[in-house]
């Protein structure tokens, strides 16, 4: 009763138009090729109400409020999808309705299964790595033999300190930076042990004086605009920065490197909210996403790897042959993922992260 009360009154809830012949899709902006949406409607007669967001937090708040009215959403696996899953926000998938399921890449499915046992609730859409973005010229000028493909770039004070003057930014995200710091220390990146996390925090604190800012999106503009020369962030974001910098008037060469110690794999997951008004159409839409040509067209648009193995052959060479987008097996073998942990662990981690960031 009380839940209904709160859900009902929270102004947050947006209820898109829904009906028999439609599906309400809430996705990242620029994340699906638009002609594919038309193709879906042509094929199935189901109208697509397509709305976009640009932060996981907004999606999270809407889903937690309840009655979001969406049929298909695309959260990032960690920490969002996994926490939403724990809160019981998603419908289990009816595999019998997903004829194209077998197109999925088993490797990515296995990685996603760490968050979603048996891949019961979500299908991997796009994925990428977490790594190091840098301004080639500025790094070379300061440290010609900089270990650009190592976590030492951001966690070794002797190295980072060289770049303090040209600017370093790290993600403002405990679930991305602390696991990387654990990895750097040779510890289990998924460790929830207090003493391990304290050590990881120690690593970040040691380099903190050389970090200009912790922020989860500003580094795109900052790298592209030449205001920083080094960032630890998501592959997709750094590609964006690279493309912008290349188009800018005073061209900057921005490069991306996957840390050789291992990289946290990020996966954006397509899933169906528990209270989806059109679950049947949602399944049809997911099955459509599993079609190789749809996934391939969207990868071409975004420049990200997709979780569809059958789509690989359809991709242009500059994507499928790019080791930063589709890394070779040896690099993939070192990908890691982390589990959600309890809400108390989340709170402890957030708190620890705040103390690290603010230097207390």
């Amino acid at each position: 009763m009380s839940r209904v009360f709160i859900s009902f009154l929270l102004a947050f809830a947006v209820v898109p138009a829904f009906g028999q012949g439609s599906v309400n899709v809430y996705n990242w902006s620029d994340y699906i090729a638009e002609d594919q949406l038309k193709a879906f409607t042509n094929d199935t007669g189901v109208k697509v109400n397509y709305t976009t967001y640009d932060s996981n937090e907004i999606l999270d708040a809407k889903l937690r409020t309840g009655r979001s009215g969406y049929d298909v959403v695309v959260p990032t696996a960690s920490p969002f999808f996994v926490r939403q899953l724990a809160a019981g926000l998603y419908l289990p998938l009816d595999r019998s309705k997903l004829r194209n399921w077998n197109n999925l890449d088993p490797e990515i499915l296995a990685a996603l299964a760490r968050y979603d046992a048996g891949n019961a609730h979500g299908i991997p859409w796009m994925w990428g790595t977490t790594g190091i973005g840098y301004n080639v010229a500025e790094i070379r000028k300061r440290l010609p033999d900089a270990p650009v493909d190592s976590l030492r770039m951001i966690f070794d004070p002797a190295v980072v300190s060289k770049f303090k003057d040209c600017g370093v930014m790290l993600l403002d995200s405990a679930t991305d930076v602390l696991p990387a710091a654990l990895k750097y220390l040779g510890l289990d990146p998924d460790s929830k042990k207090t003493e391990d996390l304290a050590k990881a925090a120690g690593v970040v604190k040691a380099v903190r004086p050389f970090i200009r800012k912790f922020h989860s999106s500003e580094y795109i503009n900052a790298l592209a605009g030449g205001n920083i020369c080094l960032a630890f962030g998501y592959s997709g974001d750094i590609f964006q920065a690279r493309d912008r910098a290349a188009k800018a008037k005073d061209k900057r060469d921005i490069a991306y490197a996957i840390p050789r110690e291992g990289s946290l794999l990020w996966i954006d997951v397509a899933a169906i909210p528990k209270d989806a008004p059109n679950p049947a159409n949602a399944l049809r839409f997911l099955d459509f996403l599993l079609e190789p040509k749809v996934a391939a067209a969207s990868s071409e648009l975004t420049g990200y790897a997709n979780g569809n193995k059958a789509a690989f052959a359809l991709l242009p060479k500059d994507i499928s042959g790019n080791p930063l987008i589709y890394p070779p097996a040896a690099v993939r073998a070192k990908f890691y993922t982390i589990t959600a942990g309890t809400s108390d662990q989340t709170r402890e981690r957030t708190r620890l992260w705040t103390t690290v960031k603010t230097g207390r």
Partner: protein
Amino acid sequence: MRAIITLPFLWLGVFFLLPFALVLVIALGTNAPDSVPPVALGFSLKSFTLLFTDDLYLAAWLTSLRIAATSTLVALLLGYPMAYAIARAAPERRPLLLMLVVLPFWTSFLIRVYAWMGLLDENGLLNQFLRWSGLATDPGTILGTEWAVHLGIVYAYLPFMVLPLYAVLEKLDAGLLEAAADLGARPIQAFLTITLPLSLPGIVAGCLLVFIPAVGEFVIPDLLGGTETLMIGKVLWDEFFTNADWPLASAVAICLLVLLVGPIALFQRQQARSLERHL
């Protein structure tokens, strides 16, 4: 007639009291991350106690209050002469000057903050100018410091300081200053004994209009500030979005509101007093 009287109360009830009651109900609940919404209703003061016992939150409160207070002071020191100059300008020029004060509101707040980022960046216009002019070869970066946060807040809220100050200064009878001068007051004495006390309602109103939103400010410290600037708005954001702890986030919101009701009540009392005094 009755409808006209009821309407404001209805408005207040639907758009202020009801949401406030909801937030209060959530704040008194406990975090239930595995339910929708993630709140178990009840009567628990846990969130409030945490908010005032945890040293990190206390630090955030203090930082917010300190930054809001210093920004308010700077805005007052900048805004007073501006308001004074406008109030003393030729009457036909005042509308133009006032329009210049509110002109920034014609563009989006966010865009203006981003513009400041472009000015204060390492390679921003300010540093470009300093390097080009030779005033500094290696200027530091203001962006990402508490200086930038102050700058942003003062910039964004200065009109809220200037307008109420202008309103009182414009009404100030110039004859009172002549009377003071006639009785032997030097211009500075006349200002301190006549203009300043009589513009006190404007000072209080302006300070509240700047201080109150500055305490809860989130966007400016997030975009212009550095990571070490921990303000209470950021705590609220973290609790709501990162920890998905709605009760604690709501408790922050309630405390902010209560914290700000105090000064407003004080202001209202002062207003009532001065009204009675001038009648």
